[in-house]
């Protein structure tokens, strides 16, 4: 029986799609445009996370140690490495610190530091996630300061806070854009299905006359909504693929520079698949709204 119902749904669903005409085409196009915009923004966000990680590496915390010998310095480093929120802790010998200081200074100033006794230093690279907050980083600095042998911690937290704030802003904008686009797709598909219902209202009336249940009437229209949304998702991804292949290099060059080479990568395949599924889901919601309204009006 399920098989018979499925074949009927498929048959009537295909007829719904054929009767869709221009509104269906428009709905697929709008869905594609919406999902393209959403996925493009998602790709930007995905790559911005990579960029944020690179920024975080450039603003690592520096712990100056007051220890006697390499063993104690290594112990302090190992303790720091075990702290939550630490991506990497690297030990620098006094000689390495001096060499870096000289590289950072020029002319006479560089000569002035020659012969200075530099301390052992641990460079700490914190993890940058959305969950990071200024408070979390302050807590990390405090935790580092509490480790035996640590004399002072220098941490340019302001830069990280700004990166963090920008990430949050982008996440917020992404969520807003996603909701907005979801609404647009739902409304557009809903109206396309509404027009299909109007075109097929006599047919639906005859189906009801011979005893069709609400589910029998709704299923083909739901199917057409899902197909519209899914097609929109697939077309959106095709457009994104074309855009990515044309612009990825330009964007990579624009983002690269002081932070090194940044590759502008596409979203992972699972996320792209989820975009198509989301398209189908939004199509189903849009179709359900129209069908529900029609059935309620017809009752």
């Amino acid at each position: 029986m399920m098989l018979a119902v499925s074949s009927s749904v498929l048959k009537h669903g295909l007829r719904s799609l054929r009767s869709g005409g221009l509104p269906l085409f428009f709905a697929v196009l709008m869905s594609a445009l919406g999902l393209f915009s959403m996925t493009a923004f998602g790709t930007l966000l995905w790559n911005f996370r990579t960029l944020a990680a690179a920024v975080s590496e450039s603003v690592s915390a520096v712990a100056f140690l007051d220890v006697d010998g390499a063993a104690a310095a290594e112990e302090a480093r190992a303790t720091m490495q075990l702290l939550p929120g630490v991506e990497r802790a690297t030990l620098m010998t006094p000689e390495e610190v001096l060499a870096r200081a000289r590289r950072g200074l020029r002319g006479g100033a560089a000569k002035d530091v020659a012969g200075l006794q530099m301390p052992w230093v641990v460079e700490v690279i914190p993890r940058v996630t959305l969950e990071d907050s200024a408070a979390a980083r302050t807590a990390l600095v405090t935790a580092i300061e509490g480790i035996a042998g640590v004399d002072e911690v220098a941490h340019p937290g302001g830069e990280l806070s700004r990166v963090d704030a920008l990430l949050r802003l982008m996440y917020g904008a992404g969520a807003f854009l996603a909701v907005l686009i979801a609404l647009v797709v739902v409304v557009v598909v809903s109206n396309a299905v509404r027009l299909m219902v109007l075109v097929r209202r006599d047919e639906i009336a005859i189906q009801k006359l011979v005893g069709a249940s609400d589910a029998f009437v709704a299923a083909p229209l739901m199917l057409s909504g899902i197909v519209q949304g899914t097609l929109g998702g697939v077309l959106g991804l095709v457009a994104l693929g074309i855009a990515h292949s044309s612009l990825a290099h330009v964007v990579s060059v624009a983002l690269s520079g002081a932070l090194g080479t940044i590759a502008f990568v596409p979203l992972p395949p699972l996320m792209l698949f989820l975009v198509v599924v989301a398209g189908g889901g939004l199509g189903a919601v849009g179709a359900a709204l129209s069908v529900w309204r029609h059935l309620r009006e017809g009752s």
């Binding site: 018979a4 009927s8 047919e203 069709a212 609400d214």
Partner: protein
């Protein structure tokens, strides 16, 4: 236990179960913008297996009565019972379920023009979730019965009016309905085609289906083994059992033409 009524079919030609399939108790129907009731205090009982002709002038309430029976409308007051069920108390899914047990035929056929003859008839079984092979067997069988086996795969719109009405009847009969409701089934047909339709209805009746036909057609009114219920102004003004006292053909023609009988 279902109440009993007299068997109107005394000559043994048509089987008639005395269980009531349709009962109307003081039924009235008022449309919101109408000046008067479409139906007013209608009481009617129809037994299983009866062939009932609803006659009367245009606007008498025949179609409204049929619409109440296939749940397209609800009575404004009174009760309509179909196969023991009070139609006012049905849920949406109950309505769908009960419609699968009744066949409905209209003057304008109500076929889906883009579907073939086969698909139009099959629709009534598809909504029941029947298996494809069962649908094919039943549809081909009923199309053979109505003489359209050779037009199975033609689009419905390619057929003549009489053929389209036979498709509509096939769609109604393919579910083996307990009740067949027909609203002016011969209204768009010439005499010869109307006779073919009448014969199909009589065949269904002989097999035990309760047939209720709203019509102006004198041929249907004069057909044997039927009960004639005359409606006028929304009231039952005459209810003659088969082979009982019937209105004359002339008076029925007067009714058709809108003149008082």
């Amino acid at each position: 236990m279902a109440p009993k009524v007299a068997n109107f079919f005394q000559d043994g030609a048509a089987p008639c179960d005395t269980a009531l399939v349709i009962e109307l108790f003081h039924v009235a129907k008022v449309y919101p913008d109408a000046e008067r009731s479409a139906l007013h205090d209608v009481n009617l009982s129809i037994a299983k297996g009866e062939f009932v002709v609803l006659a009367g002038p245009s606007g008498a309430g025949k179609s409204t009565l049929l619409r109440l029976l296939f749940c397209a409308e609800q009575a404004s007051s009174g009760q309509v019972h179909l196969m023991g069920k009070n139609l006012a108390r049905l849920t949406r899914s109950d309505v769908a379920r009960i419609r699968r047990t009744i066949g409905v035929v209209f003057q304008d056929f109500k076929l889906l023009p883009e579907l073939t003859v086969f698909d139009n008839v099959a629709l009534a079984l598809e909504v029941q979730g029947r298996r494809r092979d069962d649908i094919t067997r039943r549809v081909l069988s009923v199309l053979k019965e109505v003489g359209l086996a050779h037009k199975t795969h033609q689009p419905a719109t390619a057929l003549s009016g009489g053929e389209q009405q036979r498709v509509a009847i096939a769609r109604a009969l393919v579910v083996e309905p307990a009740v067949l409701l027909c609203d002016e089934p011969t209204g768009n047909l010439d005499a010869e085609r109307a006779q073919e339709v009448l014969e199909l209805l009589m065949t269904a009746h002989v097999r035990g289906t309760t047939v209720i036909v709203a019509t102006h057609d004198p041929a249907l009114l004069a057909a044997g083994r039927r009960r004639v219920v005359v409606l006028e102004g929304g009231r039952v003004v005459h209810d003659a059992p088969a082979f009982g006292e019937l209105p004359s053909l002339r008076s029925l023609r007067d009714l058709r033409d809108g003149r008082a009988a």
